[in-house]
Subunit: 258 residues, 4 copies
């Protein structure tokens, strides 16, 4: 067996999912709704007294902890690899680069812990590399890199959460050059959720650099508090996006195994 | 590290997710819908030419490959452990035993491969144990057991898929007694999707035995064709249900690691 | 012909319907969402160049200008006429007293114009009757009575709109005793949307008096500004609730004909 | 008063609305779903014993009896009047010619009763005019013309309903030339729901002629059985589309007043 289960620690990296949790305004509506409509009730019991209950989920494909598919972003109406975005689009999703094309991610993972970064700040490469060096983080091709800004502790305060710090374009470029498979952070957009990169004047710089130019997935709203508290910086990272045909993203519950 | 990535094989156990895929009639409506509403288009580009696209997912919490939460079933209006089902229910899900209470599942997994079982047949314990013995399957407490009926190859034929064979109550009871964490199969309901267990006259016998009486999760519509073709019977099983607060189930993309 | 179209004036009594419009918090989620997913695009044109476009509506049955069905409210778990509410409920709506049982409403209508009433105030019967008398309003059995508080002019300010004045229970009782078919107002709940009737200590007093005890429908978020500006107090009122089987309410676009 | 209520007869022209009713395959998904999620239950009662119940509607804007907005159809990517369709489109509907721009329709209405027409047949102008003449139907500018094919009696048989007869392009052209405000029929698409007009080889010919070229609304799935049974051919027609901002259609419950 390639996984030793005895003594394995599993860190849950998903934020809880409910109406009222932080949501990027670009995805409201539809936001997030779960309604319970089929109830346990006497009148629908089987002869042995069994009843079933179920509900309906209505959600943006970018709600909560989620992964961005490559079709989520375009530059000059071209997706990653030059795919013609309007031509690939249908009423029900993309013919190419939809979230169902993401293989299950099982990779070496790294946590760069920046501590608690003040809100509304752009995080530069020097700062990220300094922490990485100190913490023994040495990402290589095929790895996944998670960055903690501390915002994940504020999931219960959507207004504050949306103002969290984000990565300058140069951070994204460094990781793209490293040829990681995916990056993630404990904020809404990896980049800052609003405002322009002070170096380049670009809004959501990492979204172009990573998804469109480099084919690197972005995982957003990752919960990193427990992983950081345990002082873990290297781990096995698992993330299994749902194969929603043609979708631009998927809710995920990533885990770190140590 | 407890996971050796070099040489690791990852088997994807999720069926593709799209409107028109097999669905238990009890969950239609709402069924499954994904619509792409936010398109890449020139008029919404940022100055650097970037555009974003996203969509809306409307789905039963029991669509496609999914896990049943304990609150999904009741007997005598009691959930697992005697929880009062009507009292625990709200418009937006259950206060107890919702799918968000399922820990990430990282466990030893076993595949019992019954080959291609004819449709509309109840599968008995002798048959299951015989295959298990032959295949070296020795489930213990805390493990996950998957059973292949071959129906997973017919996902593109919903009418046929819904007629797939399912487990007699005695199979569920054996696994419950073994104290596995979860069971799964490549059919709609683990049990047969319609009709009564010939031994006990009970509809969906495993749903009471496993979810209500034993606290064992059921994973449905698991894709097992590739795992079986590779002759794998023992593996590390990973499954990370989304923490949808109060929901009765969650879509999942389980994987087997070898 | 019973309708003389020449010279007929038609007053539109519906507020515009969009995400972000005022919504009672009890109906969020799901709130109101309309997404356009099927676009006009070259690749789906017929040979003669025709294309079609369509979208998806996801809405509370109590969003915007709407009518309350009798099954919307219960007292002691009994609907109007003593119907057992839990027994009548299904996952997909009520077996009895659903909105589809409301006949098209074509009735004599009356407008009682209270002017612009300050927010967060309970409106008493004396005040309503005084305006009615002054304005020549003499409701009788089978009529519809609309009351203007002026809040309808604030539809674009949801916070303010939700604080609008509402009717004391005694106003509802008077109209119930008059045996009108329906009442309506230019606020969220006919009653005040929050707080208790100062006379009786009851929250939403009109909802019990009208819907449960008297079988009188309530129409909410009616737009009355133009009707009032024209000084119209007597008119023909038309309102055609959608026959959504089992639903507890329906969006409507009532009109007044003069 | 311009409406004489005494002796007024009101004919309800809406088909009942439920999951499973006939639906054009182009609008599935999302189809039609209504779920009841907020139930009357003791634990949420106010001190005076009152409870509320409500649900969620998820529907195509072209489900059931509905009206097509002008933005629903384009030719050469131009809407009625030459509006650039892609430029007018947003994620949340059209900036121009959305269903909210339709005024309440209060007009003289005419019923042309073709009797029960066999399915899968294109109905020609001669046939329509002959019935019109016999029945005293003399449409003029500003009127609404409804045509009965008898399919409305088959609403409970979706497969049969979808095969109903429809109007040849020449019928649409005649009515467009007459400058009616709207047309309607008791079938899915006014035109036949599938197949090409035998004269012109065009699919859904009326959709271009009426909506794009002439600005005439189409009302589909109108229930005409009772109106026809009463032998009524001239009436006052009322139809109040919901002002769903930007939508391509709206559910409606038209009525005929006699």
């Amino acid at each position: 067996m390639t996984v030793e289960l005895t003594g394995l620690r599993v860190f849950d990296l998903e934020q809880p999912r409910y109406h009222g949790a932080p949501m990027h305004p670009g995805h409201v509506p539809p936001g997030f709704t779960y309604v319970l409509h089929r109830r346990h009730e006497v009148q629908s019991a089987t002869p042995d007294g069994r009843t079933a209950s179920s509900g309906t989920l209505i959600t943006s494909d970018h709600a909560g902890t989620h992964i961005d598919a490559l079709c989520h972003q375009a530059v000059g109406l071209r997706l990653c690899g030059g795919v013609d975005a309007p031509a690939a689009a249908t009423s029900f999703g993309y013919r190419e680069l939809g979230v169902e094309t993401i293989e299950p991610i099982v990779a070496r993972g790294w946590l760069i812990d920046l501590g608690t970064v003040e809100p509304e700040r752009w995080i530069g490469l020097d700062e990220v590399r300094r922490s990485a060096d100190t913490q023994g983080v040495r990402p290589a091709a095929g790895d996944v890199v998670l960055v903690r800004t501390g915002a994940g502790a504020r999931w219960d305060d959507p207004e504050r959460y949306l103002r969290a710090a984000g990565m300058k374009g140069e951070v994204s470029q460094w990781l793209a050059d490293t040829r990681v498979v995916a990056v993630g952070a404990d904020n809404m957009a990896w980049d800052r959720a609003s405002g322009d990169d002070p170096d380049t004047g670009v809004f959501l710089p990492g979204h172009s650099i990573l998804l469109v130019r480099s084919g690197v997935y972005i995982i957003e709203n990752v919960f990193l508090e427990e992983l950081a508290a345990a002082g873990v910086h290297e781990f096995t990272f698992l993330c299994t996006p749902l194969k929603i045909r043609g979708a631009t993203g998927s809710p995920v519950r990533p885990v770190a195994l140590v």
